[in-house]
Symmetry: D2
Subunit: 304 residues, 4 copies
């Protein structure tokens, strides 16, 4: 498969001027991003790399990082994790608080905010230095020791993150949070502030396309069963309220973030990351969604 | 792949005595079914058939039939259909009525009851004799002219179907139902009463594994794009509140019914149907779920 | 107390041109009403009558009639009635369907639509000819044998009443409706179509200001305890989502209808009815609310 | 009216052994209270006092204190207050968080927790030393300079008050909280910890029965309009999810607390406080409700 040709086609077809959405603006730091940024990087199972545009430039990966914290919690807890968080799509963002009450504080899945906060609680409870160990984990699977938090982004999130603090307190009232509120949200806001490039994301997510092993070293980070579970979760819950649409258009497990990044994997074939900061009304990158749809269409490798 | 050996293994491993659920009992006719029934049928892209147990015995396919009515509506309306019904997982069965109000009467997807009722409204509005045309459609794709409704089941549903009648009236108040209530629910209850065997279901669903074409005749019933859409919907919304779990355990697009049937497809490979009437607490066949999990594990052909 | 002087003051102060709301338009028949209509009638415990304006003209009393059907159900069932319907304010119109599900089909109070439909079910189940017996009841307490339904209004309601039909079916699914749907909604739509004048309403409601007895004849229609219960319900639940505001502004038990009528009672003193068809955004007559506020302020007889 | 004779009758009729409820136990300090405690105190407009039992013993007044903070906020803000909090009954305790989202963070009324927290925010924002000024206010209207917080109760609430902290953060996210979270909840938990006797409560609440004036000194604390508003709010919203029942049984404006206290007022006649710690399933004092019902029945002075 000539992936470079496909990427070149995608780059030539797409233009940020054709999209109507807006850059995320709920925190000032994210609103500063240049809407013209556009990059894409494919990392193949045969270790080849293909890319275009701003694929080497760092951006705020936001919710994409929830896949990393989930992976760490699965390594620590295995299947016991699912007593604390469910594995089903959420459907209705509006009702997340009501839903928590029905279900005794157990969030629908690890990718909605409530679920990622429970995962954060687990890591804060079990790890000596959770932020450092998160960095260690991400640096290891990416093969880049310089990946770091964006302190400005983390501080900006924290100063306006009342809804997330409400969620943690509410789940604590319902008995599904063990630690103090402050270290949990501190970890969470740092997690979401991770700054990475498309290339680094593609490298990091190769473990989910490679049955849990780092491609370069062969070291097993996650069991094949854990990888299957994470991929199934990305497939059904990875795109806010647009998982069904993504499943149809792209047909690959993936995860998006409000920083405009999307990462997806084709098991045994490749991992791919794309970045364009303009979001559609459901909070996913408009050009990113289209670029991935073109990738699976042009390569003819969709799941369905 | 020696599918018959895999099926034999599954049959020998599983026993209805090991499961704790119950046969559906909300209508008397369904409660009469023998809980010991168990059958499975695989229909391959190379036209081979494999099966075990009660795979030739008819049962009430219930919600599985929603895939047929959806297919007919897509043929009639194409992409315009998605103005009347959305394509995202529902998440919260409890709130379905509230959700309808938020979203102006547009159901989350065509497989929840509200969505299937809108699809019924569309067919009743556009077809001269919707029940006969439904039978014609199902008989054609199955290759069996004797498939029919189970009139006792349909009557039984109708006599207790107040919740569905409430849904239709509510959506009519919100402007998303065009026809009279009575013919819509008459069509809907007949649709759910369709009586088919595992073998017939596997034959019928082959069009979704074969890019929309009947395998025997090559006739195109649905466009490849429509098939992709339907498969994506089955993947994310086909199992009530257990789509995430099925996606992990089985990893194939599929659809279940409270009669205890489940059908799934592996694109370009096979369609498969399984039947065991004992349901888990989420309303899906317990042995059916396990049998399909074993099938994808033993064949090594899972999606993820 | 010189009530005529107070009424004259109110009439001179108020003008339909000063109000911003609109006449109810959800059914064509109601939309035809002249927005300039304005009348008020006080009926005192000493049998004196005071009035102004269009107080002798009939209008559609709509939800005010729910007080009559509630009274009939209390006569038939006594305190057992409260197993079928609760006595607490509803709070959230939006959630009425969700609320029904939480509370197993038991509506919050007899004045929300769901509650009035349960009351209708009770009357249809227990009375030979419920519509005729309702007319008999209202004619008797009013002392006017010519009060009747407005058949055009009833037909108009019925042709668009899908939300109410949905409610009945939903409660039937939850086990709190005994009769068939059709006679219940037929009774309900006729009930709401009752056509009366301010004078007739003031006469009819005198039983609630007179401990359950018809003032002219002394005949006891309701026990003092039943009257206390009905008055408490009017005080806390009589004004859709504006019961708190009415309780503050007027401080009397009362009931409003979307036809623009409001009736209120001051125990042992008087009953009063006012009519002006222009509604505020919560569905209560704007001038009616103001007129009653002026009445209690000018007479100095507020409850608090 | 021989109130002492009525009180004696009530005391002789009632027995804590006849009630089935339980003492509040959600914080350890409240669970320690002796369930046999029972006292009642009436303070009349003619300055007479009547009482029985433990009417001079202090207890935790809990939510009753919300009437004091509301009064202070009305003095500071007048009618502008109603832009921050509504005046309607809440209906559904379950949905309070959902309701906040519908209504943009504006709580239904000042007596539900969310509303009392907004009132706390207002006082913290506008007062130099809000806790001291609260004490000053309560001491003044009661005529007792020794009324104080119960520090153990306040600390106990704070250590488990995650749900209230969640509410404040959530409303801050929705824009209806101005101050920092910590001083708001510190004020709120101290407010609820106020320790007073039935006698002191009856004295304090006399201003609401006396058109806003302290009976002894004649000093006007609240305008008559503010008092009318507060009384209307107590009538429709003062008893959690039992306002309708209390309105029927007692027919007076009042406010209860989970410490087992209830206070009520009969305008121009008397204020009354009763205390018995055993709560019914809706969180109101069982004996307290019955005692007040007997009081209005025996005195024949019910509102309706």
């Amino acid at each position: 498969m000539d992936y470079q040709k496909i990427l070149n086609t995608i780059e030539s077809e797409m233009n940020y001027r054709d999209v109507e959405g807006k850059v995320a603006s709920y925190i000032p730091e994210l609103a500063k991003v240049d809407p013209r940024k556009f990059g894409m990087h494919i990392y193949c199972g045969d270790k080849q790399h293909f890319c275009f545009g701003d694929s080497d430039e760092n951006f705020s990966i936001q919710s994409i990082a929830k896949v990393f914290s989930l992976s760490m919690a699965m390594i620590l807890m295995g299947e016991d994790l699912w007593k604390r968080v469910d594995v089903e799509p959420s459907g209705d963002p509006f009702n997340s608080l009501t839903q928590l009450e029905y279900e005794q504080g157990v969030p629908r899945n690890p990718f909605i905010n409530a679920g990622a906060l429970v995962i954060s609680d687990i890591l804060v409870a079990q790890l000596e230095d959770p932020k450092q160990e998160l960095l260690d984990f991400v640096r290891k699977i990416t093969g880049n020791p310089e990946i770091d938090f964006d302190k400005k982004i983390a501080a900006s999130e924290k100063s306006t993150g009342y809804r997330n603090i409400a969620l943690v307190n509410y789940m604590k009232a319902l008995g599904n949070i063990k630690c103090e509120v402050e270290p949990i949200v501190d970890f969470y806001f740092n997690l979401c502030s991770l700054s990475m490039s498309c290339k680094e994301l593609a490298q990091a997510f190769m473990i989910y396309a490679n049955k849990g092993k780092i491609l370069d070293t062969g070291e097993e980070i996650l069991t094949p069963t854990s990888v299957k579970r994470i991929n199934a979760l990305m497939q059904t819950c990875g795109f806010y309220d647009e998982a069904g649409e993504f499943s149809f258009e792209v047909g690959l497990p993936g995860k998006s973030g409000v920083g405009g990044g999307i990462v997806a994997i084709h098991p045994d074939q490749y991992s791919v990351a794309v970045w364009s900061p303009i979001l559609n009304h459901k909070g996913n990158s408009e050009l990113g969604m289209k670029a991935l749809e073109r990738l699976t269409t042009l390569s003819g490798l969709s799941v369905f």
